[in-house]
């Protein structure tokens, strides 16, 4: 894509050490009485090497505490690396927080100018996009009110609206854009796509692995401060999912079997049928397994298991033979397992799918914990609803 251009960001053998004080001396008195020995070294980053090409979108993933944000802060110049160098070309804006510098006593308008200044917009530039910002936030009627009268949702919208109107060559985005409702997030992704079309370099730190696959050109995964994987988003995300499993078994094989019959596709279909739909606790949803027979198989048994993403403990399974189904010989078939009301806690769940022989148990094809779905809690009621209240008075 940009093989001729110099990379927008070069990270060369960057390490970052934090002194973690058990009891941090924060006054002169304490400093005199405390030896430095109490500080424990913590390496948030170790020997990170990265190149991010100009105009590309780079996803940075990893579990909490893996060093993603630290790396982002080093690139932004907020933190200084303990060793190594970072070379960065072009104007940079870092969105680590929405509404940086917002002050309660100022009006929405004044806060826009203040926040925009921190994001590198000049007063004139801000004036140029001011109406756009206000319209984007949908706050035309309130922009001259002090923000202390805003709801938290309005504040987030305003901060977001300023953030997406920045004009840098390189944009660093931390989890911040993952706020707000779904419509808002869609708006945000739209905006990121616009940034991409404008040829800006984007570094995205996120927990939303599907977003990384959707919009990133390349991705890297950090694990305990080390660069664990780097490459195409698909591969890095898959690696991330394996690591999330806590796989320590060196013999772990995600995929095995002799492939007389093959798993062609697996879809986890939420109740509303759309691929982006949510699965709430108690929802009925479907796991659809498309099976192809490469050679005639008479005794095919299709099964799946759902495992708790945190504990790896199997919580649910089913197989066609147990349901009394004989699939027979076929070219291609779709088996739909309908889960009637998923009873478990919100969280992430893995799906293992297998094709085997009913008689011998021989494995034709197994994909172990290849698929992931997330169960969310039913949304809390935020709007006022009519609740009938009975009133009784008793004589005492």
């Amino acid at each position: 894509m940009s093989s001729t251009a110099a990379p927008a960001i070069e990270v060369h053998e960057v390490s970052k050490r934090f002194h973690v004080f058990k009891e941090r001396p924060s006054t002169i008195k304490q400093r005199l009485l405390t030896s430095r020995a109490r500080a424990v070294d913590f390496w948030a980053l170790r020997d990170i090497d990265l190149e991010i090409g100009e105009g590309t979108t780079f996803g940075l993933i990893g579990h909490n505490g893996s060093g993603k944000t630290t790396l982002l802060k080093c690139i932004a110049g907020i933190l200084r690396p303990t060793s190594g160098t970072i070379r960065q070309r072009g104007r940079l804006a870092a969105l680590l927080e929405l509404g940086a510098g917002f002050h309660q006593e100022l009006t929405g308008r004044e806060n826009v100018y203040l926040n925009a200044a921190f994001l590198g917009l000049s007063r004139r530039q801000t004036e140029g996009v001011f109406d756009e910002i206000v319209a984007f936030a949908g706050l035309e009627d309130f922009i001259d009110n002090e923000v202390k009268f805003y709801s938290s949702g309005m504040l987030v919208r305003l901060g977001f609206a300023v953030a997406v109107h920045v004009d840098p060559d390189v944009l660093l985005i931390d989890e911040v854009l993952a706020v707000g409702d779904e419509a808002f997030q869609a708006k945000c992704l739209d905006r990121i796509r616009t940034f991409q079309h404008e040829g800006r370099t984007i570094v995205l730190v996120t927990h939303a692995l599907d977003t990384v696959i959707d919009i990133c050109d390349r991705a890297a995964m950090l694990h305990h401060g080390e660069l664990h994987a780097i490459g195409m988003p698909d591969d890095v995300v898959r690696e991330m999912r394996y690591v999330l499993l806590g796989v320590t078994d060196p013999n772990f094989v995600p995929e095995e079997g002799t492939r007389e019959a093959e798993i062609a596709e697996v879809q986890i279909v939420p109740p509303d049928g759309s691929p982006q739909g949510r699965i709430l606790r108690g929802d009925t949803f479907t796991i659809a397994v498309d099976v192809r027979q490469n050679e005639p198989v008479d005794d095919l048994d299709v099964d799946f298991a759902v495992l708790d993403g945190a504990t790896n403990y199997p919580v649910l399974d089913a197989r066609t033979s147990r349901a009394g189904l004989d699939l027979g010989r076929f070219d291609k078939k779709r088996v739909r397992f309908r889960i009637e009301g998923f009873p478990y806690d919100p969280g992430k769940y893995w799906v293992t799918v297998g094709l085997s022989s009913r008689e011998t148990g021989h494995l034709y094809h197994v994909q172990t914990q290849r698929y992931l779905f997330e169960v969310t809690d039913a949304p809390r009621i935020q709007d006022r609803v009519d609740v009938s209240v009975g009133v009784e008075v008793d004589d005492l």
């Binding site: 933190l79 070309r89 510098g101 921190f118």
Partner: protein
């Protein structure tokens, strides 16, 4: 877009201050400074009906009270309100800047941890706020002086010189306390006590002429007295704004010395302050890379 892209390199080296380069960076970020000062002023006065009038009221009340008190109690120093305020306003600028500046980085911890911008802007904003107050109050004082006794033109040249010397020294000290306070929080308390002592060491409320008389011909002590940069600045302000003919045989309110000598002393303070500023700025700049970690 690509034509003028500059490359930034970040290393583990604590950065070395190059004044010209850093000044350009600060100028490029002046919008943040302007916005922060505007914000502070707004927040300071927003909930009050009179707004910035409070800032003007302060010297007016001083003038009224001391005019009244000196009329009733008879003569201490002639035109004492003018003497007091010409020094006190300068002191207030210095005091508000250093105290405000010492807290500036800590109070904006969230910004420092989440946004990359030249950290000098935070203490500079505290100074900016104090400067606006100073400007308004000086205006009140000047109007009062013109209305009552009149300005003394040749001596007035000391005003800009004293002001610039004060400003450079204030910036230098403020940068230093702001940086040190991030690491050791009791610097703030120490500063409060230090400022109290400093206030009385400086001839603001009392007549420097009396000090001169007391010290007699002990030159070393006199030199020592003027080693306090605030003494030189306040003397400059007195000389520029407070004009009273000393009665024959009486004690002068201000230090008796030729105008040129005082100008030279102020010039020396200015030069020394600039050297001090280079040092404290460098130290602030070197430390500022670790602010996000320390907070």
């Amino acid at each position: 877009m690509a034509a003028t892209t500059q490359t930034v390199e970040r290393t583990s080296e604590s950065p070395h201050l190059r004044v010209g380069e850093r000044l350009r960076v600060l100028v490029a970020h002046r919008e943040i400074l302007a916005n922060l000062v505007r914000k502070e002023l707004k927040v300071k006065y927003v909930a009050s009906v009179l707004g910035a009038v409070w800032s003007l009221l302060n010297p007016l009340v001083y003038l009224a009270v001391f005019t009244f008190v000196t009329r009733v109690l008879g003569n201490g120093l002639p035109d004492y309100p003018v003497y007091l305020l010409s020094g006190l306003l300068a002191w207030n600028l210095f005091n508000a800047s250093t105290i405000g500046g010492s807290r500036s980085v800590i109070d904006n911890a969230n910004l420092v941890k989440k946004v990359a911008f030249p950290r000098e802007i935070l203490p500079l904003a505290a100074i900016g706020v104090a400067l606006v107050d100073y400007g308004l109050q000086l205006l009140v004082l000047l109007v009062f002086i013109v209305a009552t006794v009149g300005l003394h033109v040749p001596d007035l040249v000391l005003l800009p010189l004293a002001f610039v010397a004060l400003l450079v020294f204030t910036v230098a000290l403020t940068l230093w306390v702001a940086a040190v306070n991030v690491r050791y929080r009791d610097v703030g308390h120490l500063l409060n006590i230090g400022m109290l002592v400093w206030f009385w060491v400086t001839p603001i409320v009392y007549a420097s002429g009396l000090v001169q008389q007391h010290l007699g011909d002990r030159t070393i002590l006199k030199v020592l007295y003027f080693c306090n940069p605030l003494t030189a600045v306040v003397e400059g302000m007195h000389r520029a704004l407070y004009v009273v003919e000393t009665p024959a045989g009486g004690t002068s309110a201000t230090w008796v010395m030729p105008l040129g000598s005082l100008a030279l002393i102020l010039l020396a303070v200015l030069v020394a302050s600039m050297i001090f500023l280079r040092f404290t700025w460098g130290s602030f700049f070197a430390r500022s890379g670790d602010f996000a970690e320390e907070l």
